[in-house]
Symmetry: C2
Subunit: 595 residues, 2 copies
């Protein structure tokens, strides 16, 4: 039989995956959509590469959330499908995978599903394409292979068949014997995977995945309240089996553990800590660098002005509107190259913020300042980033800028602002970091999201204040390999990302190029004007949308571990463009400077 | 409230854990039994250390499978409990955790459970100890906190109370409100943990933990047979979402993937491969080393004789009975220090074995031999170990020993034999290694077991032939950190491990010392004669037993990455002493030579 492998099963760029599949003797591949979107090769080039390698493109996948939806939505789905069928023609792929819908708008109506799949198959047939319909184990209404087959059978369309996947069938415990009742010619595709069985019973969950209170999803405080009402007076004892903690250094883990109990006791009212003082903005971001020149060049192209210089240290203050970036070429810089080393958090009560941080076991940083410097409270975050509690131009409080001498009277042209900061956490410190930012700084932690990098999965979780003037995205790799390559970045807010990107480029800045395939997908997903799409493609601007609005963003080249993002955010948009992160990461990998 | 942390929540040796807990400000600790067993400190010393650090020992845990069992078994349990209560008195711990039974022998009888727990509490009371009974979420008959409390209430014993654990309560979705109905003074202990929720639905399972056919637990071949009977003629396509594969190099992963499909097709009869030729023994093990002296010293103390020398290479053959070890000081040795580099597998048909290996994509090794050397077929295992297919002293087949000149006529004293070899796999290659050994060599893969190392979890999985003359234990760390420190080892079979260990020591060999706490636990678990226990403790001999018999083993010091084990195995015993591995690993960590 012919053998094939989905590109998602292998690591690396699409080219690396195809080469590996060919060398290992596979006859064909399934092209996974994300791999195509992130590839710099045009569909025709991918087709030619596969042909050279002796690989058939057996399947293009997936199309999702197509069937059993209201009429208007189905019309949009057909439009999207037409885009993908055109793409498949260029690829030379003649079978497409359609997964059973997980959309909340999908209705439980087999007849409607059959009718719409039949319409989709009509369109596919015009392109010489076959549609293979598969039941996802977690499909909203269709989750078993026999159910998917009943719909395909009811549709009775020659270009519509079913795709069987051993994972979806066996993970549900379905009896595979019923497969024999499906005519072989209607089984358009077979995907095979094995899995450890049982993957995760409560015992495995307990032995490997516990975490400290506040790091998971349990209402531990609620439980504790009941225990206290019962009259319990014994100790609160943490019993946590966790594969990561087993490997992490005991000292920091113990501090993190104790912080979790302090916060828990505060939550149930048996311990009183200094009130949280939620930061109200980013006063500054400090980059340390052994060589100021490359950073200065990027900042200048971004419209920053070198506004002031520290009186006693080799630190320059670059400013644009309210966005302030310190560039430090002091001794610390020589050790680790260019990196984001400190954040100044604007806070209404610096001393109070520091008291709370100290009570919650945050390491208070020694004051390394000259006697004449302004007093600044600072603590270390779990990843080592220094957090300064600042009061910028507020009467009665020391202003950190008093230590700087102005270099220019010019007001930095036009309003600038930090949209968010993104920090890569050491592998062991991801859950710890969210707990720290939540309890010590009083920020809200959002849900964590998985992002596919070509060389591994990343997790990302944002912490923010209520009005979004402080947003920090914490990221971490799936394992402790190579996480230093995942850069830190500073996202600058702009009202017009196109104009900002053009100005940056005109000033000599280099933007991260994004593959053309991404823009074809964008055209399929959203009805954006063709001119806008062309502009976005030219500048490498990415686009996302959620219920609250749109998000347009693009990226600069990377200096050391640091790059910049230009961000145009609709007020209601809550995210950080995670949908585009895998494309961005792949582009960064392929443009990574030699190390 | 007092705060406490279970030692199992932290990484490192017991001393490191206690120090970290104290520095982080905890008031007390739960001492986890395995941490105590692996510690070189006597209970009194642990007590003193905790006192110095300002830590109370709030709990000793766990006791398992105590209650609701037949009379004779309960008598044995009480005997075990008495040992532990004596230990707790020395520790100064006054509360013990008893988890609800998971034993298959436990009966579903609350009255019996209450009666036996009451008897246990009687005994505990004599020692001034309180028993805290906890419902494990996966307890055999008692799995909810209210059920555990009903049993405690029925027992009505002052020294018996309940232990509540947020994980066990919330992971089952129990309503914690009922806790308020328990009198506070009967809640003897509270353990807190959080967990990601939901830990693993089928979506997570699908997106992160699929693997290639034959690497998991699904009957993929069974499914494929049904699909073929239905008349399917399309490709077999692997669609595997796996966090590890996403990070691994694409080339080897693709080969592994294709091998899995070849084996699958062979299993369902659509592809014919050369028949498996199952190895019948270990012909030799080859160590490469930059300095033969330390290895030679250990081998000599183990009773090996330097029997022959290779005609053209710096390779010595050391022999004892049927156990043969090559010591290679050639150029390869200088790169990586002392390691196990090759295995000679005794096989009835070397050429056939090589043909199958090649058909299953095992890399065939180039012949690096002088023209006069015997022809030896060899392939590389996924971890790089070279596998030679050998025929030792069999008519009509080239004998690898023909390349060696005898150095002595003396017959190596007494029978020796390899019991098993243990190889540490690179992180990415664990599942691959088991599949390789199973399909390429025709060995049976046993279930994988988790082993707690002080600095992380290890997994281990053995592959064997039917009569146990070839046994290879494949091990891997939980993450790609530091796995090179996990050594490889050669286990030598002996009929009398005590005599063998004494001879080794008398000849100047150094055995790995095992903490005294281990032997106290052994006394509690098994009724071994006191003299035997004393001898075991003196020599560092570990003991395990399964349904088929007993297993006694001890370890030599480590040279480079390699150490030796002396093994006395009852014929029916199927394992490798995994129950003792965490104690052994902790002892090796504390005796690790400076690097």
């Amino acid at each position: 039989m012919r053998t094939s492998i989905a590109t998602v099963s292998l690591s690396g760029s699409l080219t690396e995956k195809l080469t590996a599949a060919s060398r290992a003797g596979f006859d064909g591949v399934e092209i996974f959509e994300n791999d195509l979107l992130a590839a710099p090769l045009a569909p025709e080039e991918i087709r030619a590469r596969c042909a050279d390698l002796g690989l058939a493109i057996e399947l293009y996948q997936p199309m999702r959330d197509i069937e059993a939806v209201p009429k208007a939505e189905f019309a949009r789905n057909l439009r999207r499908a037409r885009h993908k069928f055109e793409l498949m023609r260029r690829l030379g792929a003649d079978t497409v995978l359609v997964c059973s819908s997980v959309a909340p708008t999908a209705v439980d109506d087999d007849a409607l599903a059959a009718e719409q799949l039949s319409e989709l198959a009509d369109l596919a047939q015009d392109f010489g394409i076959r549609v293979a319909y598969e039941a996802l184990a977690w499909g909203r209404h269709v989750s078993t292979y026999d159910h998917a087959w009943r719909i395909v059978e009811a549709a009775g369309h020659p270009a519509l068949g079913t795709c069987l996947d051993s994972f979806h069938i066996l993970s549900r415990g379905s009896d595979p014997k019923g497969i024999e009742d499906i005519p072989g010619e209607k089984i358009f595709f077979l995907q095979l995977a094995d899995a450890p069985q049982p993957a995760m019973d409560v015992l495995q969950w307990s032995r490997h995945h516990r975490c400290f209170p506040g790091q998971g999803g349990f209402d531990v405080a609620g439980l504790l309240r009941h225990v206290l009402r019962a009259g319990y007076t014994g100790p609160l004892s943490l019993e946590v089996f966790n594969d990561v903690f087993r490997q992490a250094e005991a000292g920091p883990t113990a501090i993190d553990a104790h912080r979790s109990l302090l916060a828990l006791q505060e939550a149930v009212g048996v311990v009183e800590l200094p009130e949280p003082v939620v930061p109200t903005g980013i006063a500054f971001t400090e980059l340390v660098t052994p060589d100021a020149e490359p950073v200065a060049a990027v900042l200048a192209a971004l419209g920053f002005v070198r506004a002031a210089r520290h009186r006693g240290k080799p630190v320059d203050l670059w400013q644009r509107g309210e966005a302030r970036i310190l560039v430090n070429t002091g001794p610390a810089a020589r050790r680790e190259g260019t990196r984001l080393a400190a954040i100044g958090l604007e806070t209404p009560d610096p001393a109070g913020a520091a008291r709370r941080a100290e009570a919650l076991l945050a390491p208070v940083l020694p004051r390394r300042r000259a006697p004449e410097d302004a007093s600044l409270e600072a603590v270390a975050a779990p990843d080592g980033t220094e957090l300064f509690f600042c009061a910028t131009s507020r009467a009665g409080l020391p202003d950190w800028r008093a230590d700087f001498d102005d270099l220019t009277d010019a007001d930095p042209a036009e309003g600038g602002r930090i949209d968010h900061l993104a920090l890569t956490q050491p592998w062991h410190h991801f859950d710890e970091a969210a707990l720290f930012h939540r309890t010590v700084l009083g920020l809200d932690a959002q849900d964590s999201v998985d992002v596919a990098d070509p060389y591994g999965l990343l997790r990302s979780r944002a912490v923010t204040n209520a009005d979004g003037t402080v947003r920090i995205a914490l990221g971490v790799g799936a394992a402790p390999v190579d996480d230093t390559v995942h850069a830190q970045h500073i996202a600058l807010a702009t009202d017009d990302v196109v104009a900002a990107a053009r100005r940056f480029r005109a000033a000599g800045g280099r933007l991260l190029p994004i593959p053309a395939n991404y823009y074809e997908d964008l055209a399929a997903r959203y009805e954006l004007p063709a001119d806008d799409l062309e502009t976005y493609r030219d500048l490498g601007i990415l686009y996302d949308r959620d219920a609250g609005g749109a998000f347009c963003h693009c990226y600069t080249e990377t200096v050391g571990r640091v790059f910049f993002e230009l961000v145009q955010r609709d007020p209601g948009y809550a995210g950080y463009g995670a949908a585009n992160a895998s494309v961005r990461l792949a582009a960064q990998h392929s443009h990574r400077p030699a190390r």
